[in-house]
C-alpha cells in the first residue's frame, strides 16, 4: 500500500522517454573503434563517415507506441564532397488513436533489469521464482530502478572474462598482426584472456626517437584506472642475439642514437596482471626486452604477451580439466622427505613448479646422437603422444662399471625424476589420492655377477576413460618405469663399443570396453482363463 501511494505521488511522466535517443546506438559493437556503416557510432570521425556507403541504423527511437516522441535520424549526405553524416533530432508522431498519451507507471516504457543473484538475495529470489509459477510483476518493481547502471566501470563493477581492460583514456592494447604481419595497435586485451602475439613494425635509425611504438613509455604510459603499470624487469638484447638481464629496472630507457645504432628499442613486452577473485585488478607489471637496430634494419619483430594471475596464488598450468588433454604435459611431483602420511600435508612448493621441464621428461634425441654430449636436453612427456628417443654411447675399456651406471641412470632419468604423476589434469597438490606413484621395475638380461648397465628406460602410462559416456575424461591409472639392463662385457684395451640407449613413453588405454546389454527375452504370458475347466473345477 505504501508503494502504491508512492507511485501515485510521482509526477505524471508524460511521453518523455527513459533513455536519451541521441546517445543510443545499437550498431556500436566494437569498443573504442569505429564500426563500419554505423552512423551513430561516437568513435567515428568525420573522415571515417565520408567512407561509409549507407547508414545501417537510419533512426533511433524510443517506444513507438508513444503519441509523440523524439527520434534521432542519421543519414549520409552523398551530394556533399566529401560525403558527410547528417544527424537530426525530430519529433515523431504516432497517428494511431490508441497511442500512449501519458503514463503514471514509471516502469511501463522500459525493461527493468532483473536482479543479479548474490549471496544475500539468493534465498529471497529462490522463494519468489523457484516454484512452478510466479507473478510477472512483483512489488519490488515499484522502487527506484535506475539505482544501478551497468555502464559504471569503477570499483562497483567486476571485470568479467573477455571484457576489455579499461585505462584512463582508452583500453589496454596489445599490438597484434591484423591482415598482414604488420602491427596494429587496436587490439584490446581481454580480462583473463592470456594472449601472445608477434608482429612486425617498421623502424629506421633516422626516426629513432620519433616512433612511439618502440619506446618503453608507450607501453607503461596508460595506467589501468587506479593501478600504475610498473616495470618488472628489463632484458637487453644485443645485435647478435645475446640477452642480459639488467639490475635496476626502475629506470625508463628511451630510444636514443648511439654509435650509429638506435638502442633501447622495445622488442618485446610481457604484461602480468594480478587480479582478485572479486574481479578487480590490483597490480600490473610489464617486463621488457630492449634491443638495438643498425642502419640496414627496416623492420623489427615485436612480441607481446599478457597473462593474468590471481592474487596470492602461484599459477600452475593445468593439463586438462579434469581429464588430461592430448598434447599437454603430464603433471608430476614429489613428496617432501620425512612425511610418510601425506594426509593433510601439502606437497612442497618445489613440487609443482611452473617450469614444464621439471615435470616428467624423456631424453631428447640430438643430431649428433652422442649420449655424453647431449647432457641435459630433455623434452616433456605429453599426454597421448608415444615417444621414443635415444642416443649412442661409446664405451671404451677404461670406463668403470659403477660411474658408468650412474651416468646412464642420470641420462635416462634426468635430473629430477618425479615420484608421483597426477591422475587428472587438474589435480591439486593437496589431494594426495589423486596422485599415482611411479612404479619402478628392473629387468636384467642375465643373472648378476657381471656389471649391469641400464640401457633402456620405458615408461608405460596406463590410462582409462572416466566419467560420462558422452564426455569421457582421461585419467591416468598406473605409471610404470621399466629399466632394462645389460651386461657390460670387458673390452680389450684400445677397443671401443657403441651401444644404443633408448628412452620411450607409451600410453595404453585400459578403459574397459563397453559391454553389450541385451533386452530380456520376451516371455509368453499365456494363462488359461479362470473357468476353463468349468464343469469339472
Amino acid at each position: 500500500p505504501e508503494t502504491r501511494a508512492a507511485a501515485r505521488a510521482q509526477v505524471r511522466s508524460g511521453p518523455a522517454p527513459i533513455t536519451d535517443v541521441t546517445k543510443l546506438c545499437v550498431c556500436d559493437l566494437l569498443v573504442a573503434q569505429c564500426d563500419v556503416n554505423c552512423c551513430c557510432d561516437p568513435d567515428c570521425s568525420a573522415a571515417e563517415f565520408s567512407l561509409f556507403t549507407t547508414c545501417s541504423v537510419p533512426t533511433v527511437t524510443g517506444d513507438s507506441r508513444l503519441c509523440s516522441q523524439k527520434a534521432a535520424t542519421y543519414s549520409l549526405d552523398v551530394e556533399a564532397n566529401p560525403p558527410e553524416r547528417v544527424f537530426k533530432v525530430i519529433d515523431q508522431i504516432n497517428p494511431s488513436v490508441f497511442c500512449i498519451h501519458a503514463t503514471n507507471y514509471k516502469q511501463a516504457l522500459s525493461f527493468s533489469s532483473p536482479e543479479m543473484p548474490t549471496s544475500e538475495n539468493f534465498d529471497q529470489l529462490l522463494k519468489r521464482f523457484g516454484s512452478a509459477t510466479f507473478s510477472a510483476e512483483p512489488d519490488s518493481w515499484n522502487k527506484n530502478t535506475d539505482a544501478q547502471s551497468p555502464s559504471d566501470a569503477n570499483e562497483t563493477y567486476r571485470y568479467e572474462y573477455g571484457v576489455p581492460i579499461e585505462t584512463v583514456d582508452a583500453f589496454v592494447r596489445l599490438p597484434s598482426p591484423v591482415v598482414s604481419s604488420w602491427c596494429s595497435d587496436a587490439n584490446p586485451a581481454g580480462f583473463l584472456v592470456n594472449q601472445a602475439t608477434k608482429c612486425t613494425r617498421s623502424v629506421s635509425v633516422e626516426k629513432c626517437g620519433n616512433i612511439q611504438a618502440v619506446s618503453m613509455l608507450f607501453y607503461i604510459n596508460s595506467s589501468i584506472l587506479a593501478v600504475n603499470i610498473t616495470v618488472q624487469s628489463i632484458v637487453v638484447q644485443s645485435l647478435n642475439g645475446m640477452r642480459t638481464l639488467l639490475d635496476g629496472s626502475d629506470v625508463l630507457r628511451l630510444p636514443m642514437i648511439l654509435d650509429e645504432l638506435c638502442i633501447n628499442i622495445v622488442l618485446g613486452v610481457s604484461y602480468h596482471i594480478t587480479y582478485t577473485d572479486a574481479g578487480e585488478i590490483i597490480e600490473a607489471g610489464a617486463s621488457f626486452v630492449l634491443g638495438a637496430i643498425n642502419r640496414e634494419a627496416h623492420s623489427i619483430q615485436q612480441s607481446f604477451e599478457i597473462s593474468f594471475t590471481q592474487v596470492n596464488t602461484k599459477p600452475v598450468p593445468l593439463s586438462g580439466n579434469p581429464g588430461y588433454v592430448v598434447g599437454l604435459p603430464l603433471r608430476a611431483g614429489f613428496r617432501p622427505q620425512g612425511y610418510p602420511f601425506p594426509v593433510d600435508i601439502l606437497f612442497a612448493a618445489l613440487v609443482l613448479n611452473t617450469n614444464k621441464y621439471g615435470q616428467l621428461t624423456v631424453l631428447q634425441s640430438t643430431s649428433n646422437q652422442d649420449c655424453l654430449a647431449a647432457q641435459g636436453a630433455r623434452t616433456p612427456v605429453l599426454f597421448g603422444y608415444n615417444m621414443i628417443s635415444g642416443c649412442k654411447l661409446r664405451i671404451t675399456a677404461t670406463m668403470k662399471c659403477q660411474p658408468l651406471t650412474q651416468t646412464l641412470l642420470d641420462l635416462l632419468k634426468g635430473q629430477s625424476f618425479p615420484e608421483y604423476v597426477a591422475s587428472f589434469g587438474n589435480s591439486q597438490a593437496q589431494d594426495v589420492l589423486d596422485w599415482v606413484p611411479i612404479t619402478h621395475l628392473r629387468t636384467s638380461e642375465q643373472v648378476k655377477s657381471s656389471c649391469q648397465i641400464p640401457v633402456s628406460l620405458e615408461i608405460e602410462v596406463k590410462w582409462t576413460k572416466y566419467g560420462s559416456l558422452v564426455n569421457p575424461q582421461a585419467r591416468i591409472v598406473n605409471v610404470t618405469a621399466r629399466i632394462t639392463t645389460t651386461t657390460l662385457k670387458q673390452l680389450p684395451s684400445g677397443r671401443g663399443r657403441t651401444i644404443p640407449i633408448t628412452n620411450s613413453v607409451v600410453f595404453t588405454d585400459i578403459s574397459s570396453p563397453a559391454e553389450p546389454g541385451y533386452k530380456a527375452w520376451p516371455t509368453i504370458n499365456a494363462k488359461l482363463p479362470f473357468d476353463f475347466f468349468f464343469p469339472f473345477v
Binding site: T3, R4, A7, R8, R12, C67, S96, V97, F98, C99, I100, H101, A102, T103, N104, Y105, Q107, A108, S135, A136, E137, D139, W141, N142
Partner: protein, 143 residues
C-alpha cells in the same frame, strides 16, 4: 379550456427540456464510454505491462463511476420532471464526484491513451453543460 390553456401556455412548466434531452444523450453516451473504457483497460492489460496493483484501482473506480452515473442521471431526471430542486441539487453534488472521476481517467490513470483523452474530454464537456442547465433549472424551480 383551462386544460387547453395549460397545454398551450407552458409558462407553468418549469422542467427544462434541454436538460432532459441532455440527460437522455448522456445516458446513451455513458454506456458507450463505460464499455469503451473497460475494453481499453483489457487491451492495456494485454499489450502493456499492467501489474495488479495498478489494475485493481482503475477497474474499481470505473465501476464506482458507473454506479454514480446511474444514480446521478436518475436523480437528475426525476428532479427535473417533478420540478423538485432537492433531487436536482443532489444530482449536482454527485456530478462533482463524477467530474473528479473523469479527471482521474483523463490524467491519473496508469496508461492514458489518446482515445481516453478524447472520450473523457467529451464527457467533461457534457458534465459542464449539464451543470449549467441544472443550475438554471434549480433557480427556476426555487423562484
Amino acid at each position: 379550456t383551462s386544460l387547453l390553456r395549460e397545454v398551450l401556455n407552458n409558462s407553468y412548466q418549469l422542467s427544462s427540456v434541454p436538460l432532459q434531452i441532455l440527460f437522455y444523450v448522456n445516458g446513451i453516451y455513458y454506456i458507450f464510454y463505460f464499455l469503451a473504457t473497460l475494453a481499453m483497460i483489457v487491451y492495456k492489460s494485454q499489450v502493456f505491462s499492467y501489474p495488479d496493483d495498478f489494475l485493481a484501482p482503475d477497474l474499481a473506480l470505473l465501476f464506482i463511476m458507473a454506479i454514480l452515473e446511474g444514480l446521478r442521471l436518475y436523480l437528475g431526471s426525476k428532479g427535473n420532471l417533478t420540478e423538485e430542486e432537492a433531487p436536482l441539487g443532489l444530482s449536482l453534488v454527485i456530478t462533482v464526484g463524477s467530474v473528479i472521476l473523469s479527471v482521474y481517467f483523463l490524467v491519473w490513470q496508469t496508461y492514458v491513451l489518446k482515445a481516453d483523452v478524447i472520450i473523457n474530454a467529451i464527457l467533461l464537456f457534457t458534465y459542464g453543460l449539464e451543470s449549467v442547465l441544472k443550475v438554471i433549472a434549480i433557480s427556476a424551480f426555487v423562484s
